[in-house]
């Protein structure tokens, strides 16, 4: 389960929630297809080596031997460097199908994160401080996304000609999406001399520390939900 990373920074306390369970939900082998070019019998390809091993161990691989499989995406690789969350984020950053550029930007942002952290580590004095500084940009990215996830959302509901913003529970998928969208928007803020990767790196580091624009946006959303809590009580029909 998700026990690997718990405390990353000094002031950070919230552990990594549900990411692995969400991941398993996204990597479903079978499932009801909706609006797919494939018939429902076609299963999604399993590309993660760990999952393949698990299938073989449990014996499900034998059952799936003769089932037809859908074509795999180019981005779903069994590489060591592949991460589904990064893949989703890259796709979200991508504009008009320019996956090349989107991937470059994300990779540059991660490089920038690593540079900053390495500099901090090399200038740190004690061994403890050096250990505490995380240099893995993937961990920082995941932490930033977790810290930016809202717990509930505002949904506009029209009643009597007036649109009320009603606080409503949020699904895991949507919360991840909103967090990534805020990170992207923070990276696109108006600063003409600083380019997207550097800004994104800054925002990732800040969000991983529970500071910065993304976390502030999340807290503002929570505050507004709390302010509008009266609307949540009504039975909307």
């Amino acid at each position: 389960m998700a026990t690997g990373v718990r405390v990353l920074f000094n002031d950070f306390r919230v552990p990594l929630r549900s990411w692995l369970t969400v991941n398993s939900a996204w990597g479903q082998v079978t499932g009801r297809a909706r609006y797919s070019q494939y018939p429902p019998a076609y299963i999604k390809p399993v590309y993660l080596p760990a999952k393949l091993e698990e299938l073989e161990r449990s014996g499900d691989a034998k059952q799936l031997e003769y089932t037809p499989v859908r074509a795999a995406y180019n981005t779903h690789t069994s590489s060591v460097f592949h991460d589904p969350l990064v893949r989703k984020f890259t796709n979200h950053i991508m504009k008009t199908g320019n996956k090349c550029l989107a991937r470059e930007l994300v990779e540059k942002a991660f490089q920038e994160v690593k540079r900053v952290q390495l500099q901090k580590r090399n200038t740190a004095e004690t061994e403890e401080e050096k250990e505490a500084i995380v240099c893995d940009p993937l961990k920082i990215f995941k932490q930033a996304v977790e810290n930016g996830r809202p717990v509930l959302q505002l949904v506009p509901i029209k009643r009597g000609g007036v649109k009320y913003q009603v606080p409503v529970p949020i699904t895991d998928h949507r919360s991840y999406f909103i967090s990534m969208r805020w990170l992207k928007e923070a990276g696109r803020e108006k600063e003409r001399t600083i380019h997207f990767p550097e800004k994104l790196a800054r925002e990732l580091l800040a969000a991983a520390r529970n500071e910065g624009r993304v976390v502030k946006k999340k807290q503002d959303l929570h505050r507004q939900c709390e302010a509008n809590r009266a609307y949540a009580h009504y039975r909307w029909s």
Partner: protein, 130 residues
Amino acid sequence: MRLTPLNLRSMYLVNNQRPKNGRRATRVPFPFNGCLPLKLRDSVSGKSEKLQSNPCVQEMFVMFSCFKKNDFDQALCSKEIQTFEACHLNHLTNEKRKKEQERRGVMVPGEKRLAHKQLNHLLGRYKQPV
């Protein structure tokens, strides 16, 4: 004599009498003839079923009070957040299960409220005589 549509119609047919009206020209009286079939439908519409209620309001309020107390620090309210999320997840799974049951037409005997699909299953078994 009570002026019913049937009586007016018979007066017109037998005595060629139209009902007297000083304000406007009279129409030929005719009773209700039943353009639509005089029998009940074998189905129920599901339009009034979609009661969009906000689930987990109690847990939400508990979470809000915790937020207010700790100035919206999420780390200190992890338990309340977890209960809220668990409630929401429970709600979603229940909805999914109910939907699947409705789709298959499975019914629990003695259930107080049936969905429109389930009712239609039942009504389809005992249709109105032609």
